[in-house]
């Protein structure tokens, strides 16, 4: 018995919503960062599912690009988080508003 494609899509949507929700309600920068990763991977899952359903390898190929971008983003993002920890010894998103207009 094969699992229908819609189940993967529902899972992906659920993961995306969890990620988005977490991003909105958590204040710890590191956790927010993880939530972003969750959303990215939900999108990846959607790509793969559609690639499979539509018999198009393009969906899986796109995932590689997303992975590469995510890896780069992690490097930069974690670098920033580490830098913030070094200066403030804590990383609460609501305290960081020095870029306001």
């Amino acid at each position: 018995m094969s699992i229908p494609g819609s189940a993967y899509l529902i899972l992906a949507a659920a993961l995306f919503c969890i990620g988005a929700f977490g991003l909105l309600i958590r204040r710890n920068v590191l956790v927010m960062f993880m939530c972003v990763e969750l959303m990215l991977n939900a999108a990846n899952l959607t790509f793969v599912t559609f690639g499979r359903m539509l018999h198009d390898v393009g969906g899986q190929a796109s995932v590689f690009f997303v992975l590469v971008v995510a890896a780069a983003e992690v490097v930069v993002g974690l670098g920033i988080v580490v830098a913030i920890f070094r200066r403030r010894h804590r990383a609460v998103a609501d305290e960081l508003s020095s870029l306001k207009g």
Binding site: A20, L24, M32, A93, D94, L96, S98, L99, K100, G101
Partner: protein
């Protein structure tokens, strides 16, 4: 020989280029001699071309076109730089180059010690170049180039003493009045090109018969506006008296002998059109006669020797325009040539007087100069008798032929014309008496407390020689148009050009004698009248009323009608339109952006999570929109 036509223009142009490039280094008097010899060479070239044109067959209008190069070729519009050598243009070229050469020679002495000595001769050479382009062009567009060229040179030369306020504003006045006239020339060109698809004079003449009479009248009236601007006719005549702010040789050359006759030349050149419109010829007659009369009345009351001569010039050009209106183009050209001789002579003579009196121009400070300036006196005497119309000088014959033509058109025109001739003799005699006879007044304290002027001195030979040559030309210039010689002079020479447009009066010998006697009697009456009224007097306020001295309040009227409303409009624009409307729009839009930015910057609060909410909200809204479209 006719192929020398391009050299006529080339020599003054070369002179101008040399003076422009090296004038300052050449200095005085080398720059003056270079300028003079360039014009003299041009005169020689004009003589050669003249001989060539005289040898052309009369059947073809004696016209020779020298094509130099194509200028503009756009669609059906073709403008060439080509010269038209025919009896009319050669007559103009001969007297323009001849008199210019004399006046250049005169300027060498007159401009002695002036700063910008070389620049003066550069302007003069450039002026002569432009004037010759105007005269020799074979199409209206190239004539327009020369027309503008002489206009700008006139502007530079009137404002030659540009650090004097009056000279600077006189230059501007001349420039603006001329621009108004130029509008007429442009309109005429547009109209003729749209109807006939050519601006070439010979083609225009050939195709003119296909035009409707309304178009012809409009074109001629537009040309008349152009002529009124350049030739100082009513309603655009007031710039010429102010133009006397320029150095006197400039007044003689540009504002008496040559440039101001360009309008008359243009009308003569367009004779086919002018003669084809009866309405327009009456308007031309009216403008010419009104100008001649008004300017003559004004000239009776001028206190400045050059201003008096300037109004006399306006009046004489009025006669020329009158002659054009009557259809006797030969009379117009005859008076133009004769006037060029005697008015250049009178202006140069007045320049010699002013030079001798160290710059004094007021008649009340002259008197008795006969003893001190014998050469100037003798030559000025000849010019004076000529302009008064005393036989046998050129002015008598020329003015006589214009008055005859006026009689042939309408005795009413003649009546005003002969009265103006009386005024002419009167005001010129007044000017002559006040300058050369009576008591010496220059050695007394002036009416406004000026210091006495030291004893006047006669001018150097470079200034006397042109006076003598012009006096000879004035004395014998009448042979160009003797009424009883029909196969000699200007009439048979110019008739191939004008063809059927030309209407010369056909009087019997007895009638001609009668008119000649009347003309001479009127001239002598004017001279006598001035002698009775002005002998031994320097001032008679009753005879020089403010109304005439102030030019019939013409300038004041223009000031009230155009000047002051325009000033008000300009002030309104500066204070209301500029400061409120334009500045308001600019500053208002800047303020709007600033206030909007202040409001919008609150959104950018630096909180990552609030940005995220924005993104999510946008995403949700977008998805909801998509769903609504699908559902």
């Amino acid at each position: 020989m006719v192929h020398a036509a391009w050299l006529i223009v080339l020599f003054p142009l070369l002179g101008a280029v040399v003076l422009f490039s090296f004038g300052r280094r050449l200095g005085e008097p080398a720059a003056g001699w270079i300028g003079t010899s360039a014009i003299a060479a041009s005169f020689v070239a004009a003589c050669c071309t003249f001989a060539g044109v005289a040898g052309l067959p009369r059947s073809g209008g004696q016209a020779f076109t020298q094509h130099l190069f194509d200028w503009i070729n756009v669609g059906s519009f073709h403008a060439q730089v080509a010269l038209l050598a025919d009896p009319l243009s050669m007559t103009m070229c001969l007297f323009v180059t001849g008199i210019s050469a004399l006046i250049h020679l005169y300027s060498i002495g007159y401009m002695h010690g002036e700063r910008d000595y070389a620049k003066f001769f550069f302007y003069l050479n450039l002026f002569v170049t432009s004037m010759l382009v105007l005269v020799l062009a074979n199409n209206l567009l190239l004539t327009f180039v020369g027309w503008e060229g002489v206009g700008v040179c006139s502007y530079w030369l009137i404002s030659y003493y540009f650090d004097k306020d009056s000279a600077a504003s006189a230059g501007k006045k001349a420039f603006v009045y001329n621009r108004i006239g130029d509008v007429g020339l442009l309109l005429a060109m547009f109209l003729l090109f749209s109807q006939l698809h050519t601006l070439n004079y010979l083609d225009l003449g050939r195709r003119a018969s296909s035009l409707s009479s309304l178009v012809i009248t409009m074109a001629v009236l537009a040309l008349l506006l152009a002529a009124a601007g350049k030739s100082a006719q009513i309603p655009l005549f007031n710039w010429l008296p102010d133009a006397m702010e320029g150095p006197t040789p400039v007044s003689a050359l540009i504002h008496a002998a040559t440039m101001v006759t360009a309008g008359v030349y243009l009308l003569c050149r367009m004779h086919v059109l002018v003669s084809a419109s009866a309405t327009a010829t009456w308007v031309i007659c009216g403008i010419g006669l009104a100008t001649a009369f008004v300017a003559a009345t004004i000239a009776t009351s001028q206190s400045d020797i050059k201003k008096g001569l300037a109004f006399s010039t306006v009046s004489q050009i009025g006669y020329m325009v009158l002659a054009v209106g009557t259809g006797d183009y030969v009379a117009a050209i005859f008076l133009m040539v004769a006037h060029a001789f005697f008015k250049a002579l009178l202006f140069l003579g007045s320049g010699s007087v002013i030079h001798g009196l160290h710059g004094e121009q007021e008649l009340v400070r002259m008197g008795a100069l006969r003893k001190f300036l014998p050469w100037t006196y003798a030559t000025f005497l000849i010019g004076w008798l000529a302009i008064c119309g005393v036989p046998p000088f050129a002015g008598f014959w020329a003015k006589g032929s214009v008055l005859d033509a006026a009689w042939a058109k309408s005795p009413a025109l003649w009546a005003v014309g002969i009265f103006t001739a009386l005024l002419t003799a009167y005001y010129m005699s007044r000017l002559f008496y006040l300058t050369f006879t009576g008591q010496a007044r220059f050695d007394q304290v002036g009416p406004n407390g000026e210091d006495p002027i030291p004893t006047p001195h006669e001018s150097p030979w470079t200034m006397r020689l042109p006076l003598v040559i012009l006096a000879i030309c004035t004395t014998f210039g009448g042979v160009l148009g003797l009424p009883f010689l029909h196969n000699f002079g200007l009439e048979p020479w110019l008739s191939p050009v004008f063809g059927t447009s030309l209407h010369t009066p056909d009087f019997s010998v007895a009638t001609q004698w009668t008119f000649a006697v009347i003309d001479a009697a009127v001239a002598l009456a004017g001279i006598g009248l001035a002698w009775i009224l002005w002998r031994g007097r320097a001032e008679r306020p009753a005879l020089t009323p403010a109304f005439l001295a102030r030019v019939w309040y013409w300038d004041d009227a223009y000031d009230a009608v155009f000047g002051r409303p325009a000033t008000k409009l300009a002030n309104f624009s500066a204070e209301v339109v500029d400061q409120r409307v334009i500045d308001g729009a600019v500053l208002g839009s800047a303020g709007l952006v600033r206030r909007g930015a202040v409001a919008l910057r609150r959104i950018q609060n630096g909180q990552v999570r609030s940005y995220a909410i924005g993104i999510v909200a946008g995403l949700v809204a977008f998805l909801a929109f998509l769903l609504s479209r699908i559902g």
